[in-house]
Each structure stands twice: as structure tokens, then as C-alpha cells.
Symmetry: C2
Subunit: 338 residues, 2 copies
DNA sequence: TTGTATGCGTTATCAG
DNA sequence: CTGATAACGCATACAA
């Protein structure tokens, strides 16, 4: 509650002097400085960041804009882990984080720029955007620096962090191909996700280079949803009795597919091999444990924040980073029976 | 970037009028109001919450203070789910959330009051505090309304949300007792957690009422840590060959204990029954699926925020809520062999 | 080395 | 119904 005014009065100096003393300016005598600091301590003074923001036009605040922050995300801990990385990163740099959750409806009510201006955030990290979210175009038009997670869009003030989804998918499919699989189903996310495009690209690329022709009827969208994945997996299994493997664009969907497989009376990995994507915690605990492409979610968040803060301070900073993925071989994949 | 000043100039009125027109005051003619709104829209005006905070002394901001926000928490999604509840709740009421992560070290650098004052948060929700965190006493002394998650401390401006941990533990133990278990190990968290005290209380209460005497050597702290729980479980199993069940104060620790049990060549639930606490997502996927006491974490967050906002608006608001828990019976418990 | 005056964007008071 | 003015807490250009 104490302000520099209070300090000034007690210390018998002007507010200007207090301000400068506390901010470490050199043009203040050691004597007054120590006196001011003394009084500040006595009064348990702490600077009002709000007032400072107003006058400096710098809030030292970063907006964390999460699309669909909800319980559904609880199974795959993606958002949480990314957040941990961001949090560690920003506190290193003495920024604070303000959390916005958004969704399609909210985006109609308040524009991106409004959202940012109201709270005077210096920059934004956006997680979970869809390609058709209205905010995405606004971000590109806006001057406010923004780093996107898993959306590879670049602009003057827009950068991104992603993992190498094409290569990740290639590793997954190559692993299956090496095990002798030829008929490999692909359960993708949805068309609004860039990662889905990328993972499909990897899937097709690897099959092609293995001399296997793409069969559209082996591919379906599971909407990144466990249940939906189960449904489409069941459908594919019914249509293709001779399928021997699945590649799923997320572990969560792999869980759904596993259920479909097991309900058909098929065994994993003896009858059907399956590979997921993400390496969520659950992946280690399914039976059998799930082979998957691991993404370092914490690192994604950490790097995203670093990138953003870099952009905030110097403009010709690199604006994108692609992290490597890793294939984690577990029990859900095996050589094809013959 | 547009301010009310800009609007005033263009609309040909004073800033006062603009302010009142935009804030829906009645003492402004319909004509000027619509004119002002028109101009505001043209200029894509959005109010500067920072300036407003300064003058109103109300930030419409709630601090979410999380102790040890890190990857370790990724397995039990506690914090994430609580956060989702809080987020939904505060956005209902048009508050924003600012995220602070703290730990023992950080608490020495900046006091609780400083942290709050700097960002002018109106209230705080605190998750993951330990009984010996210095912030805890500061919270009690502070005037800033605060709601604690799972720490049952009450004061003039302090409330809490928790679940009925005593009863939850009792349900767990009663379930085991009903299955015929008499020698029931208890892997607790640590002494700095209130929930640990409570769960122990429930454990002892239920055993006593079943006529079973408490054996201290069957009880150990697993520090809410999977590995530590595995270690102490192994220890107890070695010392007590005739133990038939475990009650663990968290699912995460139950995972550790399960590993210890299985490594001993014992089967779950045939040889050893086990009950956890929390109902984390993983609990459904272990083999066998884990019987556990379910806490509605989302609801905890939701209620916490509601409580806090209530305290912010009227002072004689209820300050605490205890939510019910639920025993979820799964495959990890069975009648005792004889 | 220190102090005075001004402004950041908004709301509130009070007079017209 | 409207407007001039002060105030919130802080930083800074300028003056002394």
C-alpha cells in the first residue's frame, strides 16, 4: 500500500529522487539512496506494476492463450507440460503470465487485439489453435509478437515452435515397414490441424519410398478423440481383414484404436501392431505399452517463451524452432505374422 | 491503441461523456451515446484495463499461485484439472487469471504481499502449498482474500476448498476391511501436507472401529512420489510377509506400490489388494485397474474460484467448502485369501 | 545531485 | 445531460 510518495515524504526527498534511487540510477548520492532504501524497507514498499505499466507502456506480461482449456485435455497432458515449460522460461526473464482461455465462441465476442490491448500484454503464446480459428488471421495482422505452438505460420511478428511432424510420422511408419508391415492403417486428427497435414505427409512419403501405394480407405480422421478413433478404427478393421498395423496421429487416438482392435478379438502386437504419437504418460501403462513418437512438450513451451521474449527485445531474432522427435519402441509393435 | 481521448475528439464530446457513454450510464442522451459507440467501433477501441485498474483500485484479476508447477505433476493431473475449474469459474465472472508459480526459494525473495500488490490482484487461489511454506502464515496475516486448495485454514480473509479426506480414507479402508483384510499397509504422503494428516486419521479411525489395532510398522511416508512409494512398499512387504492389502494416499504412490508388489512376485489383487486416492486418469489403465477414492478436481477449482469471488464482493460470504469423495471400485481389490 | 512539472488512460467529483 | 479537473502511482524531460 505504500507508494513512492509515502517514501518521499518520510525520507524528506522528492518522488523523483525516490524513483531514481530505487531504480538504481547513478545520479543519486549514496547517502540519499541508502536512506530511501531504508524507508522503503520499513514501509514494506513494493512497486505498483500497474502504474508502471501505464507510464512505461511495458507490462512485463505475456499472454498465454489456450484454445479449449478443459478437462478433455486432461488425458493427454500436452497443454500442462507446455505450460510448465513456458512458465519456467518466463520466470527466468522476469515476465509474468496471464492466462486466457479461448474458443470459437469467445473469439467472436472479443477480437484478439482487444484481448491483448486490454491487459497490455507484450506478447502472446498460443496453444491449441485450429487453422480455422478467427484469431489466427488476426494474429498475422496484429503487431503484437506471438509465438504459435504447433502451427507453422510465420510473419513479421509471428513465429512458432513445432516438432518435426513429417519426420516423426516417417519414423513411425518406417518402423512398421521394417517389421514387414505393408497394409498400414492411418488414423489422423482433423483437417483443421496443421500437425495432421504434416503427419499425413510423413505417412505417405514413407509408404511411397517403401514402394507401397497409398490406399485412401485405410485412412480416416479420428478428430484427436479417443472415442471417434475407436469408431473409425473399427470401421477400417471391418473393411480390411488383412490389415496388420495402425499408425495413429495421437496416443489418445491410439488408445481408442487399441480398444477397437481388442474388441475384435485381435491381439496387440501379435495380430495388429500400433504406433501412436505424443508419448503421453498413459502410453507407458497401456497393455501392451504403446510404441510412439515422443514430443518434448516441456521443451516446446520453454523454447516458445524464449523465442517470444527474444522477439520482444530485438526484432531480427529468429522466429521459429523445429524440435526433434523420437521414436519410443515399446510393446505394441512386432514383426508381421506370415 | 485508440483511447477515449481520441474518441472524444472525433465525436466532439468530452472524455467524461465518452467514459460514461461506454460504461452504460443513464445520464447521457441516446444520441450522443450512439454517436460515441459508433466512433468507438470505427476506432476499434478497447478499454485499457491497466489504466482502469489504477484509478478504480480494482484489477478484476485473480492470482493463481501454484507451488511447484512442474513436470512431476504431469502424471497426476491434479493441478491441471483444478486450473480448468478455476478458469471456467473466473471467466464466468469476467475476471482474468494471472499465473504465479512459487517454491520455497522464491518465497524468500518476494513476500506474498509484495507479489500480490505488484500485480494488484484482488484475490488469490493457492494450490499445492505445504504446511511449512512461509507464504502460509503471510496469507493469514494479509488482507487479500485467498482460497486455499486442500489446506484447511480459515481466517478473516482466508477460506479453503477441500474434499472429505478423513471420510475418503475411511471408505477406502472400510472397503478393504469388508473384503476381509486385517493387515493393511498405509503409504502416506508427507507430514507437511494436511491431506496426509486427514487420510491417516481416516485410516486409523476405520481400523479402530473394525477392532484392528494400529501397527506403526505398516505405515510409511511415500512423499507423494512414485519411486519413494515403491521403496517403502518394498520395505513393508519384506518385513510383513502376511500383509494382504495397501492403502495409498495417492494413485501415483499406488503405482509405485504396485510395482513393488509385482516385483516381489505377488499378484494383484489375488495376493495383495490395493487402493489409491485421487482417481487420476492412469488409474483406469493400470493392470489391474486401480480401485481408488475419486476427488472431483475440476469441481474443487470451480468452487474455489466461486468462493473467492464471493469473498471479493461480500464479506460475510461462506469461506469454505468440503466436497464429497467417492470410492471407485476397480480390479485391484479382492476378498482376502484364507 | 535533486526537484518540478507533465503525462500514461481511465474514472469520479462537482459545477454548469 | 455535459464538461473541466483532479486523481490513481510511477517515470522522465527539464530546470535548478
Amino acid at each position: 500500500m505504500a507508494t513512492i510518495k509515502d517514501i518521499a515524504k518520510i525520507a524528506g526527498v522528492s518522488v523523483t529522487t525516490v524513483s531514481r534511487a530505487l531504480n538504481g540510477y547513478s545520479d543519486v548520492s549514496e547517502k540519499t539512496r541508502s536512506r530511501v532504501e531504508q524507508v522503503a524497507k520499513e514501509l514494506k514498499y513494493s512497486p505498483n506494476a500497474v502504474a508502471r505499466t501505464l507510464v512505461m507502456n511495458k507490462s512485463k506480461t505475456i499472454g498465454l492463450l489456450v484454445s479449449d482449456l478443459n478437462r478433455a485435455g486432461a488425458k493427454d497432458m500436452f497443454t500442462y507440460e507446455v505450460m510448465c515449460g513456458i512458465n519456467d522460461s518466463v520466470s527466468d526473464e522476469d515476465y509474468d503470465l496471464i492466462l486466457f482461455s479461448t474458443n470459437h465462441d469467445k473469439q467472436q465476442v472479443k477480437t484478439y487485439t482487444q484481448l491483448c490491448q486490454e491487459r497490455q500484454v507484450e506478447g502472446v503464446i498460443m496453444q491449441g489453435v485450429r487453422m480455422n480459428d478467427t484469431y489466427l488471421t488476426e494474429i498475422m495482422d496484429s503487431q503484437i509478437p506471438c509465438v504459435l505452438i504447433d502451427v507453422e505460420l510465420e510473419g513479421d511478428s509471428v513465429g512458432y515452435v513445432s516438432t518435426d511432424n513429417v519426420f516423426g510420422a516417417q519414423m513411425a511408419v518406417k518402423h512398421l515397414v521394417n517389421l514387414g508391415h505393408k497394409k498400414i492403417g492411418f488414423i489422423n486428427g482433423h483437417d483443421q490441424a496443421l500437425v495432421s497435414k504434416k503427419r499425413r505427409e510423413g505417412y505417405e512419403k514413407e509408404l511411397t519410398s517403401a514402394g507401397i501405394t497409398i490406399d485412401e480407405s485405410l485412412i480416416a480422421n479420428g478428430e484427436f478423440n479417443e472415442l471417434q478413433a475407436e469408431i473409425v478404427a473399427r470401421d477400417i478393421l471391418t473393411k480390411h481383414q488383412d490389415i496388420t498395423a495402425f499408425f495413429c496421429a495421437s496416443d489418445l487416438m491410439a488408445l481408442g484404436a487399441m480398444r477397437a482392435i481388442q474388441q475384435k478379438g485381435l491381439r496387440i502386437p501379435e495380430d495388429i501392431s500400433i504406433v501412436g504419437f505424443d508419448d503421453i504418460t498413459l502410453a507407458q501403462y497401456t497393455s501392451p505399452p504403446l510404441t510412439t513418437v515422443s514430443q518434448d512438450k516441456y521443451q516446446m513451451g520453454y523454447v516458445a517463451a524464449k523465442l517470444l521474449i527474444g522477439m520482444l527485445t530485438n526484432s531480427d531474432q529468429a522466429r521459429k524452432t523445429i524440435l526433434d522427435n523420437q521414436l519410443i519402441k515399446r510393446g505394441s509393435t512386432a514383426p508381421v505374422k506370415r
